[in-house]
Subunit: 643 residues, 2 copies
């Protein structure tokens, strides 16, 4: 490499510029060039190990390191030692509360994924136990979740008809769950959790609201007791389907049950919102609704009068399902694709709330949990947002609340499932509608509208995509908008014209600070981004446009001509060959107009690359200053006198 | 909207902070909130009309506007009025020179696209005439180009076998050319030219070098006189094919012709490089080679001894081909896909050299030219880099040199094509090898290696992708690397710890300036990017990591504890809801550690959004300063005294 052979050592020796008007003796410095390996290693570290996970291991004996690794994999080892009875009391109450909430939800969510009701319950038994040992979050409640169930159902039914081939359908569901788990575990193990950071908050809020509406619409089937319902999820198909069936007459008993209990549930939710201490009212309301409505149906035998009931619920705990997973054939590939897709999306929404402490560690725990789940007749589970909130409010202390919940679910499976046979579908529809209402986060939507109109457009795009087309389409829109915003950000960085705040050495954006005055004969431009191939042309053109605008103004107002262009590089963290090329072109264009190019405060990476590309020689070392003020002090007085 | 209702007008009234130690009276300002429409309009303008194309139209009468629009579409109207005989002399010489270069190249490039030789010549007749009327560049030379021909050939032969079904093949080629033209014209019309800015310079250099090697390898067929040659383009398949045929013996006459003329061509190229004035030697060398070798073959009837010759060359100018384009059926879709793909790639490489004045205008001209070309038996043409360079050096003044070239090609087609029948394929191979040698830009590659090691990796990736896999695969790698770099840039922005340069008010990166000293009790961090959902979590974590590192150091060296964290926001051009959320979390984390959060110099967009989200109220207006120096002056002395 050609570094270090030059005759200046570590800073630009502005020869002949010692008589400059700088008020101090500082010069632009650049650190020694880093080798390829160092640069690569640092890049990898910042990308994958941004949270510095090995910090604890530093300077520890080997046995301690082993223990730390084990405790890293199974955090239970860490907190179990300090577990007290007082903590158990909290966990016990919380566990019971979330169990009462999850049992009816599980049955409903399983239906959303077109799976038998007991599979939903299975998924709240084994996975929470695995998570309790490996997870890092205290108050997350594990089990099936609404949006993920909807998504899995949508993806699976495109491959196999759940009504005609329920056996193959559930096999594919377990296969997809297995690969979802593998994907999660891999992402966690290879520390690729950061990949999900590419969906914007606004797009997620819009998508979630859209998904909530879609799930709600799907519930109209159970709510109105419609037998033949569309398989599509967009609002128009659903409304047509509803309209067609309404003409044929609905089952009034079903509607009565659904509507009265929905009103009950929403009332308890409202009460809980008004008085946080009464959160348990809304938490146990679903179970109470199920019990009362089941009892009513059983007594009146309303199912004989057309009220649809759960029926197909099996007794007993999870049977093994290892042999059901497709290990060969075309469904292996399909299961893989669906699993990866479901988890890529599910992961995204996990990031919305602040439940994750160490994203990558959490992914590993969730992944292992789903792998084991797929072999014990469970479908994809994750942390449920609504139940996690209840868990927290019910005073959970550790992941033991999940264990309590799992045990309750187990007892339910062993003892009381036969009773659920007479549970009307309408009540499950009401419970799901009640649960997804809170996914419509209109407060955040309003905040986004206030803060950033463009972001709000992204939100609307994702929302209408889900509601009017499909979940996948809405997601596509969300991703496209998010990526588009990123790309726009890097192709069209902001630039600002700077002026001096009188009696200070501060140079600021003249648009923001009208009191900042321009220095006669000098134009100061700040570029607010790294200069890369994506924006190098634009930056050059934009600077020349500032100059043209300035010149027009000068002609009109008969001011002195611009003789110096100072480019403030403080925010320019990096530059590449295209960027340097653009600077060279800028220099040429300025030379034609007899304007001198001056650079202020280039950062370490920038000055080093400018030097490697010999741009510092081209422009002249005496044209590079530590601050705008230094540069102005050197050049401005002269030119101002020239007027 | 909630703007303007607050009781401060346009600046944060730091109540109670008037006794602050600021040495001036300036406060952080924010401009009035912009409406949705203004914001949208400005965004569209900066994205699509960054070069402000309507500047000329301002304040002009209607007739003038019409004339400007016409002249905008047909720049010939503009420059034709000032065309002189002196200019024509330059154009005439340049036109003859590029004609002598393009005739043999066209025949060779057509073979690269698996099209008959005369189609190559057709493509140098009609398209240059259209371009001359509509193009903006003076020295671009229009016609078939090496990489684009290779790419079109690769894409087309995947659909139709050019040997078995030459008629259908050429029909698909015209269809693809038509849609390539439409795509170009649309991109130009809708000002989407900026889309191509997403391929990094390094990836393009690597791809081009790889394509040159691939094209060179393909020429071994003609060069060695191999009859059965692999259809794959990767180096391993080609080498196996060559090796297999070498065993069966080669045609020594073919190799003799190819090798001797390649030596001649490379020698002339070297001479031209050493002495720029002798560029014409290398420019006419190909035509001379063709004439001499054709004459030799004709005299010795070497074709009877196994020397492959061009043979299938038709006399006469372009026949119409409108009826040959697939307007219906599956090939319509395929032709569309290939055309779009070819142009998306071709466009990318056009940006490499600085031939474009107005990218979008140029696209419109090239698109129209290809649409007309597809109806007159031409295949996709563009500006050839090597011929454009010759055109410039030969002293072209306007696009008339393209007209001269077109006329020479027309005369060739009408009068002398029968003579090309005996041109040996080996000579065409030599000419193409000679032409693509200059695509291997090792000087730039070396510069990239010097400036940025990571960029060089991207270059190598694209290069080896093309050479060892295929053109498409190489391109995929190039795009993936380029996009990956952009995404990495936005997820992992740089941050820097700042220190004060003694005796100044300047705060700079302590890594770059070891003389910068930290202020006791105060940590100053600068974030070097807009804070968006992509990086908000990382930025928060990174700041907390700086803090942890600092605290460890303080414990070791028994220094005073950090009490104030100043975040310098000058480079933070924008923030979104995720970013604000991250700041809120940072504030919470700091409150736990009893550290005060202070913001310095937020830009207009940032302060406005912080205010909309009420973060300014949360942190307190007296914690927001115009500069780091102001903040330090207010807080540092106190804390320093606390030691």
């Amino acid at each position: 490499m050609s570094d270090g052979s030059e005759d200046f050592n570590g800073n630009i020796s502005r020869t002949g510029s010692h008589r400059q008007t700088d008020h101090h003796g500082y010069k632009v410095r650049f650190p020694p060039a880093k080798g390829l390996f160092t640069e690569l290693a640092e890049g990898v570290k910042e990308t994958f190990f941004a949270n510095d996970p090995l910090r604890e291991y530093k300077d520890q004996p080997r046995s301690k390191k082993l223990w730390l690794s084990l405790a890293h994999l199974f955090p239970v080892l860490d907190w179990a030692r300090s577990y007290t009875f007082g903590m158990f009391k909290g966990d016990f109450v919380a566990g019971l509360t979330i169990a009462s909430l999850c049992i009816p939800q599980d049955i409903g969510y399983a239906k959303l994924a077109f799976l038998p009701a007991h599979v939903g319950l299975y998924s709240s038994f084994v996975p929470p136990l695995i998570y309790a040992a490996m997870g890092t979050s205290r108050d997350i409640a594990i089990g099936p979740a609404a949006v993920l169930s909807l998504l899995l159902g949508t993806l699976l039914q495109e491959e196999i008809d759940p009504v005609k081939n329920p056996y193959e359908y559930s096999r594919l569901a377990f296969t997809a769950t297995f690969f979802a788990g593998v994907t999660q575990a891999m992402l966690g193990f290879f520390r690729l959790g950061f990949i999900i950071e590419f969906l914007s908050h606004a797009a997620i809020v819009g998508f979630m609201a859209g998904a909530a509406i879609t799930i709600g619409l799907q519930q109209l089937k159970g709510f109105l007791g419609i037998a033949k319902f569309t398989k599509k999820s967009d609002i128009i198909s659903v409304m047509e389907s509803v309209w067609g069936n309404v003409h044929h007459g609905c089952n009034w008993q079903t509607i009565l049950i659904g509507a009265s209990f929905l009103a009950f549930l929403l009332t308890t939710k409202y009460i809980a919102k008004k008085n946080k201490k009464l959160f348990w009212v809304s938490a146990i309301a679903p179970l109470i609704s199920v019990i009362i409505s089941t009892f009513c149906v059983f007594i009146t035998r309303a199912d004989k009068q057309g009220v649809a009931i759960v029926k197909d619920i099996k007794q007993g705990i999870n049977p093994p399902s290892f042999h059901l997973i497709y290990w060969t054939g075309p469904y292996l590939v399909k299961g893989f694709r669906i699993g990866v897709e479901a988890i890529a999306i599910g992961r995204t929404f996990a990031a919305l709330k602040d439940y994750q402490i160490d994203g990558n560690k959490e992914m590993l725990a969730l992944g292992t949990m789903n792998i084991v789940g797929s072999m014990t007749s469970c479908y994809v589970g994750t942390g449920s947002m609504s139940r996690s909130a209840v868990n927290y409010m019910a005073g959970c202390k550790t992941a033991i609340s999940n264990v309590v919940m799992a045990i309750v679910v187990m007892l339910t499976l062993l003892l009381v499932t036969p009773l659920f046979k007479y549970t009307p579908n309408a009540i499950l529809a009401s419970i799901i509608i009640n649960a997804v209402v809170s996914l419509v986060d209109y407060e955040t939507a309003y905040l986004i509208w206030k803060v950033d109109k463009m972001d709000f457009m992204a939100l609307l795009g994702a929302f209408f995509g889900v509601v009017f087309a499909s979940v996948e389409y809405g997601l596509l829109i969300a991703v496209a908008i998010s990526l588009g915003k990123i790309l726009l950000q890097v192709t069209r960085p902001r630039t600002a014209l700077l002026g001096n705040l009188p009696r200070t050495t501060i140079y600021t954006n003249v648009e923001q600070y009208p009191e900042a005055t321009k220095v006669p004969g000098v134009m100061i431009v700040r570029v607010d981004s790294a200069i890369y191939f994506t924006n190098s042309n634009y930056v050059k053109e934009r600077i020349l446009r500032w100059l043209r605008d300035e010149e027009e103004q000068q002609q009109e107002q008969k001011l002195s001509k611009t003789e110096f262009l100072i480019v403030e590089l403080s925010p320019v963290t990096d530059i590449d060959t295209s960027g340097i090329h653009a600077l060279e072109e800028l220099l040429k264009a300025l030379e034609k107009r007899k304007i001198q190019l001056i650079l202020a405060n280039p950062g370490p990476a920038v000055i080093q690359k400018l030097r490697s590309a010999k741009f510092t020689e081209l422009i002249g070392d005496d044209k590079i200053f530590l601050s705008v003020d230094d540069a102005v002090k050197k050049f401005a007085p002269k030119s101002a006198l020239n007027v």
